[in-house]
């Protein structure tokens, strides 16, 4: 099958949608399909061979943040040329309601069009102002995919339509085969040692880092050799100021990490802790930690409970309860067999999120979209008569 995928955001900057598109494209290629990805990118940036550049993206303040997107007559011409040359069986656009290549592609193409909605933010202010335009865009889409229950809910309630929920995939092999950082995770014996990890914006309240800090500080006194590995954006001083001076050498801060380093970081600890206090729609990081074979300790949030199969694949503790977290850490660090049992169950859970499995489900949506349209994806003058 010939598949055309459009990514609205530039591959020059890392991001969730870009990673999703690349992993999906690679999984589809592995399954034996021909895939072409259209994305904005600088002329000289190195790209995988299946990516076609649609030109430089311009930074544009958009919906409260800065998005690097491509839009305008030049981009339109490139999109249309790509569609004509591609001769695709199905066109798969991501985030089609942002002012982007995806929107241009939807408006330019006729035929089976599948759209994936990533964020709960699906309506840009520009489009919300023009309900009629929104309807014209949505009409061109044959089948819709939502990556989370929350994104699907927005579809149903605000966009007047359904969507198939297919979660984000995890490149299990990339995590399972990553090399731990040198010197990590180190010894872990009953009563001593052990490494605990945290990834995320530690300054953001809903990530719950203070809960982990309190548990760590309380546990560090009685447990020599216990170490904490923190990764994520932020200023090191803000992090170390939260800990007593004598514990500073037991806290390691990696800063913002790349995707490969994230996998290595997750492989470098005995326990990965997700102390979030709310606001997580899916818990991607948990599936990644499970893929790395690391035991997960997470707050008892709905989304986390679902990923961890009600606590069979990882330990849940009462949300925001530092004492509960400390007890869970103590127990699991002293119990290698318990960790192994949780990890074994984690392997089964994460198999459902493995990219080849997710890609096959996406393929079924392609098939459903193709059945509901006749012909292939063709370029169509969208400003003129239809």
């Amino acid at each position: 099958m010939r598949i055309g995928i459009v990514c609205p955001y530039s591959f020059d900057v890392p991001g969730g949608v870009q990673n999703h598109v690349m992993d999906l494209a690679e999984a589809l290629i592995t399954l034996g399909h021909e895939v072409s990805v259209l994305a904005p990118a600088d002329e000289d940036s190195p790209l995988p061979e299946y990516v076609v550049s649609a030109g430089r993206a311009v930074p544009l303040p958009y919906n409260g943040s800065v998005a690097r997107i491509a839009f305008g007559p030049v981009s339109t011409a490139r999109v249309r040329r790509w569609i004509t040359n591609g001769d695709f069986d199905v066109l798969h656009v991501h985030e089609p309601l942002t002012l982007s290549l995806s929107l241009l592609a939807v408006l330019s193409a006729r035929g089976p069009v599948v759209a994936t909605f990533h964020t709960a933010m699906t309506r840009s202010r520009v489009l919300a102002a023009a309900q009629g335009v929104l309807q014209i865009v949505l009409e061109r889409i044959t089948a819709r995919i939502a990556v989370s229950a929350l994104a699907r809910k927005v579809q149903v309630e605000h966009m007047d339509g359904g969507a198939v929920e297919i979660p984000n995939g995890v490149a299990v092999a990339k995590f399972a085969d990553a090399e731990p950082l040198p010197g990590w995770p180190g010894e872990c014996a009953p009563g001593a040692g052990g490494a605990v990890g945290f990834l995320g914006r530690f300054t953001e309240a809903r990530k719950g880092f203070p809960v982990l800090r309190d548990a760590f500080v309380a546990l560090a006194d009685s447990r020599p050799g216990l170490r904490l590995l923190v990764a994520g954006p932020g200023d090191p001083d803000d992090l170390y100021d939260q800990f007593p001076v004598e514990l500073h050498e037991r806290v390691t801060f990696l800063g913002l990490v790349t995707e490969p380093d994230k996998a290595r970081m997750l492989r470098s600890v005995h326990l990965y802790v997700a102390p979030n206090t709310g606001g997580e729609s899916f818990g991607m990081i948990l599936t990644e930690a499970l893929a790395a074979g690391t035991t997960v300790v997470a707050s008892d949030l709905d989304a986390f409970r679902r990923v961890l199969d009600g606590g069979r694949a990882g330990r849940l503790f009462p949300t925001g309860d530092a004492v509960g977290l400390r007890d869970a850490l103590t127990e699991l660090l002293d119990d290698p067999a318990g960790r192994a049992t949780l990890s074994a169950c984690g392997d089964q859970v994460v198999a459902n999120f493995d990219w080849p499995v997710v890609a096959r489900r996406v393929m079924e949506v392609y098939a459903a979209a193709i059945e509901a349209t006749d012909g292939r994806v063709i370029d169509q003058e969208w400003v003129g008569l239809s």
């Binding site: 096959r360 079924e364 059945e371 509901a372």
Partner: protein, 167 residues
Amino acid sequence: MPHMWWVVAASVVVGLVAAYLIWTAGRVERLQGRAELAARALDAHLLRRAAAAAVLAERRFGVELYAAARIALDAHPDEREAAENDLTRQLRSVRLDPADPDCGAVIAASRRLALSRQVHTDLVRDARSARSRPLVRLLRMGRGREWPRYFDIDDPTLTVPTDVPAS
């Protein structure tokens, strides 16, 4: 010559109105056609599921499931939604083993049916909303084609899809 400008302005307006009408007619036609194709695909998947259930019933689970599958296959259009819901209930009441090829076929057919139902519902909604616009009704665009109809059945998904076998 002010007179001349009136003619130009009038022809521009007439031209724009005509363009809009042609565009709208094309849009209604396209949405209508797509809803019909989706209905045909849905029909095929309903038949496929009922056939797979009948094959399974002949080997396991016996007469009740077989009867439900036969009734779904033969149902009159007016009774088809109820018959398909009955079949879904029957399939849910038996223990399907994903490792068994016949059970696997029913589970896969149900999953494809769920997708097809979702797409059909969305496309029918688009077609109906286009056809119920006042202008479209006034000019009776899309006449001669049947008013697109929803197919209202319960979600036929059987188990949370864990693995999709390569096919």
